[in-house]
Amino acid sequence: MGKTMFRKLWDAHEVRPAEDGQPALLFIDLHLVQEVTSTQAFDGLRLAGRTVRRPDRTVATVDHNVPTIGRENGISDELSAKQVEALERNAEEFGIPLFSIRSRRQGIVHVIGPELGLTQPGMTIVCGDSHTSTHGAFGALAFGIGTSEVEHVLATQTLPQTLPRTLRVSIEGERPVGVTAKDLILGTIGQLGVGGGVGYAIEFAGSAIRDLSMEGRMTVCNMTIEGGGRAGMIAPDDTTFDYIEGRPGAPDDFEAAVERWRSLPSDDDAEFDREETVDATALAPQVTWGTNPGMVAPITDRVPDPEDYDDPGDRESVRRALDYMGLQGGEAIEDIAIDTVFLGSCTNARIEDLRAAASIVAGRSVAPSVRAMVVPGSMQVKARAEEEGLDEVFRRAGFEWRDAGCSMCLAMNDDVLQPGERCASTSNRNFEGRQGKGGRTHLVSPPMAAAAAIAGHLVDVRSFDADLVGA
């Protein structure tokens, strides 16, 4: 019987196989480090008198805490500044390359890995951040870890891991106009539920996935964790290789690497523990109405009524979510007015996302009642967008144009929703308080966020007279 891509990757990285009830020990090819989940890990190393085993397979950036405006003046928040300084000191002491706040390569950790060509097919990649699954878009085994594990990887360049089960999600058919990668993954989570992937390494397959650009594939894999999956991955193909070629971290002998990478996809006769299919042709642009990403519906729909649910637990969850979101249940989603638009995050702040949003915004103005901001995923994305004049398109329409960071995706810096404020956001989590205490988040694609900014309410982007370029 053939092997799944996941299994090929797993086997190639076993330093020690599972035996006598002990988990397998996997070698880690790339360890990405950020400021929020690493400080205590470095402290642990120092306490035990240990060093970083492979600084040459480690790279650090600051993203969660950094200001996205006026950073020439440093970080005004004292605690944030301390955390960033701690990473600067640790990187220096342990010899790890770091993109700190003034670097032109600084950015969200999951945006800069691929952008620099560090993320490659066949690798194991970890980071103290759950959206590490993003890198699986390249045919890598990539997953988020906690601080104890960060310390473990720093010290040993390995991780003990128990074998997850495998799930293939085949998303088939041509995406309708206006339906983006974000809508594919939101629709998938809506179908499988937020716990639907727990315990599984997920391979996304099918024609709708193959048709996506690398950026779209990253968006899909990014939100694997929102469906509970341990890792999300997509078979590498020419789209993948073309993306990597010419990037600074690309292998010197590129042809040889491509040869190697071509053997990675799952064999035709490989068996998965579970299979699911999603019909891409049936999807419309998606909007979340509740407080987890599985509470999602097509823009053309109405907000559900708690009474629609049979299970008492579900009914209670929906009631609670609607209460928090300030919704009654039953209203048309298109009628929901918004106060804020956030275009950013490791889900949707790459150059294609900005292009897709800009094509909607061009020649229009943000509704007077709306505050809208663009926070590019990295300083390189920002520079590229400026070369293309996208910053002007956004600025002229009334968007704020910021520096790179996580920003309002989790509101650890100053970019925060006020209680009761309602936001159309291109990020990945709509949990209570995620974007600020009492803030209300509706997750959407970049074109949908752009359209909402213009209309002042959630709106079907397909009703806009614009070029709907894919994202």
Partner: protein
């Protein structure tokens, strides 16, 4: 870490599904660079809610939290298990856990126990009816002794169990295999640019 073998405790009922890490500990507390002292921030945003009861004196001293499906979903922040442990919990009984969260718990000696939904429901009811009701969790035997005297078994990965029961530190354990890591690096590691070149840019 502190070993976990057997533990007897009262119950703190949290009758909710999909409790995410942003609820367990909101991001404003992730800026701290210490590893302790997170307990006072546990479930911070819920404290003012009418139906929030975990800090009620009746439940404050309970060391076993009982909750629903998919507990700990969301981010990889180990601050979530830190805050639960720092608050005084030694074990969490749930219908299911999010993967990374469960993993993080076991790294610090906080025991995640999965029980069927009906047993979790029973425990939550016991706790509400009689806050003095106790469970006895026996990890070596993989059994929860329910307040009504029934014994309910649970599954746990054998490697994880061994580490918890012995209080072993993963890093020391792995470093025993340092020769294997070296061999892997010398023989099988995939060549690649790595990250060292980044220092020069």
């Amino acid at each position: 870490m502190e070993p976990f073998t057997v533990h007897t405790s009262r119950l703190a009922p949290l009758d909710r599904h999909d409790v995410d890490t942003d609820q367990i500990i909101p991001k404003q507390f992730l800026k701290r660079i210490e590893r302790t002292g997170f307990g006072e921030f546990l479930f911070w945003d819920w404290r003012e809610e009418d139906d929030y009861h975990l800090h009620h004196p009746r439940f404050r001293d309970a060391e076993v939290l009982v909750t629903g499906r998919n507990f700990g979903c969301g981010s990889s922040r180990e601050h979530a298990p830190w805050s639960l442990q720092d608050h005084g919990y030694r074990a969490i009984v749930a219908v299911s856990f999010a993967d990374i969260f469960r993993n993080n718990c076991t790294k610090i000696g906080l025991l995640p126990v999965e029980l069927p939904e009906s047993e979790v429901r029973a425990l939550i009811d016991f706790a509400h009816e009689d806050h003095m009701a106790q469970v006895h969790i026996d990890l070596p035997e993989q059994v929860v002794h329910m307040p009504d005297g029934r014994r309910v078994g649970f599954d746990i990965d054998p490697g994880v169990k061994q580490r918890l029961v012995n209080g072993w530190d993963d890093v020391s354990l792995t470093l025993n295999d340092e020769a294997l890591i070296e061999r892997y690096e010398n023989e099988r590691e995939i060549a690649g640019a790595g990250t060292a070149w980044l220092h020069d840019r």
